[in-house]
């Protein structure tokens, strides 16, 4: 125990597999090591793998007791504050939580640079130092829907972020460090990317899509989905400027450019050299199989990026052509298809780093349907521009894309209710299960609590729909008017014909009543007689009748 401990108090930590993998790669073996600040058990284990002389300093007494109980004599645990620690210099200092949670309420109010000086004082001249810094300019911070005072739970007694000595860019951070360093950008405590690599990444390329995937999995309540902002930053060469945290690796080389829970990647002249690692099975039913991830993947944009651009340009023929090529390329497999992880190089496709597989082989049609369903979610939920009318959005649109990929559409059948489900619902049932399982495995945030942009867009869409539906009613009324006009035309024609019939009937009746007609009928009758004399007699009789009487 040293001066400045806090009790009762606890600091939350979370396991960060990518960070643990990075520590395992960069920490030298058998050095006197200080772990500064709260760290998860997973991270401590990755430090202990390299050294048996490890001291951890945490400000919470209860956290210290818990660690001592968990790790026993392997770990020397000290409860107290940084400014209270008096010790011989360490050869390795690990502060992956940064310098925000190393002082207590009884400590002096040290600025960030003063804290760094204190760390410097505890390090040997050639010490390997791993130091994190929260980024106030992070995209998640900029898009955080909560007011500032609700974001930083540990700054209650002092506003850390008002500290002018605190770096807020990669350049400021490296300039402030007293050691040469390689800086990683940490996206949502999930994905670490070397900032020099991140600075050159472009939309649709591996670093950008891994950053987006990490940020999309963040539980931070946001004003808007981070995707568009990250892509814009990437296009501007600013991907390294917007992570949630930076991590400086000082006085030691770094072997890999990218770390995620499932892979390490190094940039090569042709693309990326991938090393995959298995992770614990997820309850969703799918699991990560590192053996299906290619050892090298080309550095290109994904099919999803290309499809999104074609949809935005309303270039349906090119979209259709690409969908057809994808249909020819796909095969039945355990590996789940996702267009955001299929790299397009020229006319060829390559699987990316997603090694998520289904335990049982999946039919090609279901794999394609699942890929199109995922694409549909990402197109529609992100309010992307596309050329399909609202009544097609949903299963019908997925079915249309599936047909473009060569899967025969379901034959149309008569509906049995006014608001019957799409005929494609059955065709897509299995794909929906696969898509849900993949989303659960990727920890993609659902949209049950929509961000502000979505809420505003939904409200605007509702107003727009109302306006358009009123227009639709107007259009239907116009149609009725046209039809009514057509019916009136026909009615007039019918009236004309009826008048003609009435006139013809009257003429016929008049004719039937005439003497001439009677004579003609009589002639016709008698003409049928075979006895002319009888006819002559009858005619005479009849003409006598007609002769006026004197």
């Amino acid at each position: 125990m040293v001066r400045g401990e806090m009790q009762p108090w606890t600091d939350h930590t979370s396991p960060q597999p990518a960070l643990a993998a990075l520590l395992a790669d960069v920490l030298p073996a058998n050095r006197r090591t200080l772990v500064l600040g709260p760290h998860s058990s997973l991270q401590l284990e990755s430090v202990l793998v390299h050294s048996s002389d490890v001291t951890v300093l945490v400000r919470s007494v209860s956290d210290a007791e818990s660690l001592a109980e968990s790790f026993g004599p392997n770990l020397q645990v000290i409860a107290g504050a940084l400014d209270g620690l008096q010790a011989a210099p360490f050869e390795v200092i690990v502060a992956t939580d940064g310098l925000d949670r190393v002082l207590g309420y009884d400590s002096a109010e040290l600025t960030w640079s003063e804290r760094l000086a204190a760390v410097h004082a505890l390090a040997t001249p050639d010490a390997v130092v791993v130091l994190a810094l929260q980024n106030e300019f992070s995209v998640l911070n900029l898009l955080d829907r909560r007011p500032d005072h609700l974001r930083h739970g540990d700054t209650d007694w002092t506003p850390l972020h008002d500290d002018d000595t605190r770096p807020v860019s990669v350049d400021q951070f490296t300039a402030a460090l007293p050691w040469p360093a390689t800086v990683y950008a940490d996206y949502a405590a999930h994905t670490l990317i070397d900032t020099t690599v991140a600075a050159t990444a472009r939309p649709g390329h591996l670093p950008t899509r891994l950053a987006i995937e990490a940020l999309e999995a963040s539980p931070t309540p946001l004003l808007a989905a981070p995707t568009e902002s990250v892509e814009s930053a990437s296009r501007a060469g600013l991907l390294a400027a917007i992570p949630t945290t930076w991590l400086a690796i000082c006085n030691t080389p770094t072997p890999q450019a990218i770390y995620t829970p499932t892979l390490k990647a190094t940039s090569t002249t042709h693309g990326w050299q991938i090393t995959s690692a298995p992770i614990d099975p997820t309850p969703s039913g799918v699991y990560f199989d590192p053996t299906v991830v290619p050892v090298t993947i080309p550095d290109g944009v994904t099919v999803e990026t290309t499809l999104l651009r074609l949809a935005a340009a309303e270039d349906v023929p090119a979209f259709r052509k690409l969908a057809a090529q994808l249909g020819e390329w796909a095969t039945s497999s355990n590996l789940l298809l996702r267009w955001d992880d299929v790299v397009l190089t020229g006319d060829t496709f390559t699987h990316g780093v997603s090694g998520w597989v289904n335990p049982e082989p999946v039919d090609k049609a279901d794999l394609l349907a699942a890929a199109w369903l995922r694409f549909h979610h990402r197109l529609i939920d992100n309010h992307r521009r596309h050329p399909w009318p609202p009544w097609m959005v949903g299963d019908d649109l997925v079915s249309a894309w599936l047909a473009m990929s060569g899967i025969d559409p379901v034959p149309a059948t008569p509906a049995t209710a006014p608001h019957a489900e799409s005929i494609a619902a059955d065709q897509l049932a299995r794909a929906k299960e696969l898509t849900a399982a993949l989303s659960a495995a990727l920890e993609t945030q659902d949209h049950s609590d929509p961000d502000l942009r979505t809420a505003l867009a939904d409200a605007a869409r509702a107003r727009h729909d109302l306006h358009e539906l009123q227009g639709h009613v107007f259009g239907l009324e116009r149609t009725l008017n046209f039809r009514n006009k057509a019916l009136k035309t026909r009615e007039n024609r019918i009236r004309e014909l009826r008048a003609q019939v009435q006139k013809a009937t009257a003429d016929r009746t008049k004719l039937h009543g005439s003497r001439t007609y009677a004579l003609a009928r009589q002639v016709a009758r008698v003409a049928q007689l075979r006895k002319p004399r009888k006819l002559k007699k009858a005619l005479r009789k009849y003409t006598n009748k007609l002769r006026p009487r004197r």
Partner: protein, 273 residues
């Protein structure tokens, strides 16, 4: 939905292609382009109701319409192209002569021009017999039809496009297609829908002669001079057939054609109770 969709039996052709009733095509949820033009696909003052979708033949009208502040476009290819699929030529008969289309007026505007001079130019240009196609608005005017009959041309008309769902000759485009397939050349005094239909049906095109004027013609989209700037390869008495074919494919939206199932979804023509 709009009665213009029935013009020339276009909605009927699409309904037949989509596997639905030909005589009574279902209501279409939007506006269907019914003729080629240099604007957004419709006349400059066409009425559109809010939220209506606009089904254009090709992408260019969509782009121009977008610039006019209009949205909700989807290009589907000209129904005439679907008709070509529905009615393949029975056998390749010997084509002969020229089917000549006079730029036609419409119910609201009659054309004015020097028909005599046009006839002389046609006689000087066309190598074979000439069949002259008049829209009924000219066909029913003896003073116009007479010019061409007296010149010795065979004069035909394919019927009326109709109005308010009445009087539409559903076979209009069928008759036009059959006539086009009998002729070697198609010609007109303005670049127009018929020229593109003719090229699509395998005719060699020509556009020449007095373009004539129509009462109330709205030059908002740029008129004849814009046509000369944009499609010079389609003008003249002798036109490069390959270039004309390529332009025709673009203007009729051949690459925009949809399969039947997709067409049913797009028009909201799914089966209903």
């Amino acid at each position: 939905m709009h009665h213009h969709n029935h013009y020339y039996g276009q909605a009927h052709i699409l309904a037949r292609y989509a596997g639905l009733e030909y005589d009574q095509p279902p209501r279409m949820r939007g506006y269907l382009q019914h003729g080629w033009n240099i604007g957004c696909g419709w006349n400059p003052v066409h009425e559109f109701y809010d939220g209506a979708w606009r089904f254009t033949w090709s992408d260019a009208p969509r782009r121009r319409g977008h610039a006019l502040g209009r949205r909700n476009y989807h290009s589907i290819g000209a129904p005439f192209l679907y008709l070509l699929d529905l009615v393949p030529p029975v056998e390749e008969e010997e084509r002969e002569g020229t089917l000549w289309f006079l730029f036609h007026g419409w119910e609201g505007g009659k054309i004015q021009g020097d028909h005599k001079r046009l006839i002389d130019e046609i006689r000087d240009t066309e190598p074979g017999p000439v069949t002259f196609s008049l829209y009924y608005t000219e066909y029913d005017r003896p003073e116009v039809r007479g010019f061409y009959e007296d010149a010795g041309f065979r004069v035909v008309s394919f019927g009326r496009r109709g109005f308010s769902y009445e009087g539409t000759d559903k076979q209009f485009l069928y008759k036009q297609l059959a006539e086009l397939r009998r002729h070697k050349r198609v010609a007109a005094n303005r670049l127009s829908t018929a020229i593109f239909y003719g090229v699509a049906a395998g005719c060699e095109p020509a556009v020449y002669g007095d373009p004539m004027e129509m009462e109330g013609e709205n030059p908002l989209f740029g008129g004849q001079s814009r046509i000369e700037r944009l499609w010079p390869e389609m003008l003249g008495t002798s036109i490069d057939h390959e270039a004309a074919r390529a332009t025709t494919d673009i203007e009729l939206g051949r690459d925009r054609m949809l399969p039947a199932a997709e067409l049913r979804m797009l028009f909201d023509w799914r089966e209903r109770v």
